[in-house]
Subunit: 290 residues, 2 copies
């Protein structure tokens, strides 16, 4: 099975890994890659990826059966304006943005009747960025959330699911809003908190930090500009969950102010136990890049 | 060079790793291990550790030149009451507790004139516990904070430093209070926050979590009872830094409530940038257990 001609717009960590994974698994008859920057196109050419490279997004999508938007969220509406007249009406168009409410609201009206559109979010990646960090196994065993709306054509959902599954991903369907609430809790808020934690620590203490601190704050090494966009795009859900977290932390702080009281110890113990138990529900770790 | 007879009281993750490291490096002429539980003593016997095992702490310390207290913080004063009459006055006594202010305040008067006492905190370990998780390389390259006070005999500091250095550790000297503030920031608060984050996430979302969430919350799998004791013992410093963090988070929340404002984006970007830069100061990762 192949997906015909596949166009990847924006070959960064996710788009680049998609290109490598499609090539390795022989899932595309033709692979088109668009990047705005000639330097990035040179980098991909030098890596020997079997693909047609172009700096013109309309050219990339003209014959495409599947189009994957892998540019930053805020660049998506502009890019879709550029390509919409060149799309085949039968083309499946999806994206890999980390926020879905705003992306779907922006793109759905632009793509209605122009192509089969549905949002996707592969929950893969790392604090690294760019094509240099891309690898063919990124999606193996990774969760991918697909976000149908009332306007989504069933064929779009079916084909998107088939596409990600062929790359080894585990599929979950959520509405764009449910998706945004979920990733606020498991990705955006943890990122924000890791950053808030680490930025307070003086350099003399950082030098003493061990593996726990390193892991707890790893995501805070992600690109600040990209994450500012992600947090802004999902601001409502992140603010909501942040508010709940602040309330929890205030209760803990009150407990810490009277640490000898039995009641205080039970507040601490209850939080730590609930966390310990919840964490035991985490799916098994995926194997690292070989 | 050897340290003569070394007594390890409490062979859990840290104490057990100490025993394995001392044996592997040939740093003790005699190794005494005390554990309260016969089951733990059997486990160590079965592992073939070259040591004399006992369920009597006074017997363990009687001939010891170095005594390392590796029991939970709250068990330390009771244990020291038991052993103080059996100690050689020339013995170096130190501990591995994660909090130093309360430990030093509790133990210093008990050990004054009985032995050479100083507090230590090896910043090694993991969310795992018990002798089964112990390994001989735990201290290689790990920071160890030694906490002299105005009552500390210079010889105690010198010998403790020599001891930990022989196990491959990097030494830092801090007062007990400075230590507690430092670990509140790099260990206790991150632990508390990881727990607060993870305990709020519903199981359906946990299943979608990726590597970032796994790392950010890894420490929250640590034993809840042990961490309740640690947080209670360092409550003042943790509450202080938690208060500062809550203020930062409230500012971020205000920014998220008006995400389109340029000012809001700069609050987010400033936090993320400061975190990104601070994290680049982390020491190089130590090699994992082979």
């Amino acid at each position: 099975m192949t997906f015909g001609t596949v166009a990847i717009l924006g070959p960064g960590l996710i788009g680049g890994s998609l290109a490598l994974a499609l090539a390795e698994r022989g899932l595309a008859d033709r692979l088109m890659i668009y990047a705005r920057s000639p330097r990035v196109l040179d980098e991909i050419r030098a890596a020997g990826v079997q693909a047609e490279l172009t700096g013109n997004p309309s050219e990339a999508v003209r014959d495409a059966d599947v189009v994957i938007l892998c540019v930053p969220i805020e660049a998506m509406p502009g890019l879709v304006h550029e390509i919409r007249d060149a799309l085949k009406p039968s083309a499946l168009v999806t994206d890999v943005g980390s926020v879905k409410g705003s992306v779907v609201r922006d793109l759905e009206p632009l793509l209605d009747d122009r192509a089969l559109w549905i949002g996707s979010h592969p929950m893969a990646g790392s604090e690294q960025t760019g094509f240099a960090a891309a690898h063919a196994e990124l999606f193996e065993g990774a969760p991918v959330i697909i976000t149908p709306t009332e306007h989504t054509q069933p064929e779009a959902a079916r084909r998107a699911e088939q596409f990600w599954r062929a790359l080894g991903a585990r599929i979950t369907l959520l509405s764009p809003d449910a998706h945004d609430g979920c990733v606020a809790q498991i990705s955006h808020l943890p990122h924000l908190i890791a950053a808030a934690l680490v930025q307070r620590v003086p350099e003399t203490s950082i030098e003493l930090a061990g593996g726990g601190f390193r892991d707890t704050t790893r995501v805070a090494s992600g690109p600040p500009e990209l994450w500012t966009e992600i947090l802004s795009a999902n601001a409502r859900a992140v603010a909501h969950h942040l508010d709940l977290l602040i309330r929890d932390l205030q209760a803990v702080k009150t407990a810490l102010e009277e640490p000898v009281k039995a009641e205080s110890k039970s507040v601490l113990l209850a939080t730590l136990k609930a966390a310990h138990d919840a964490r035991s529900k985490l799916p098994k770790k995926r194997p690292k890049r070989p």
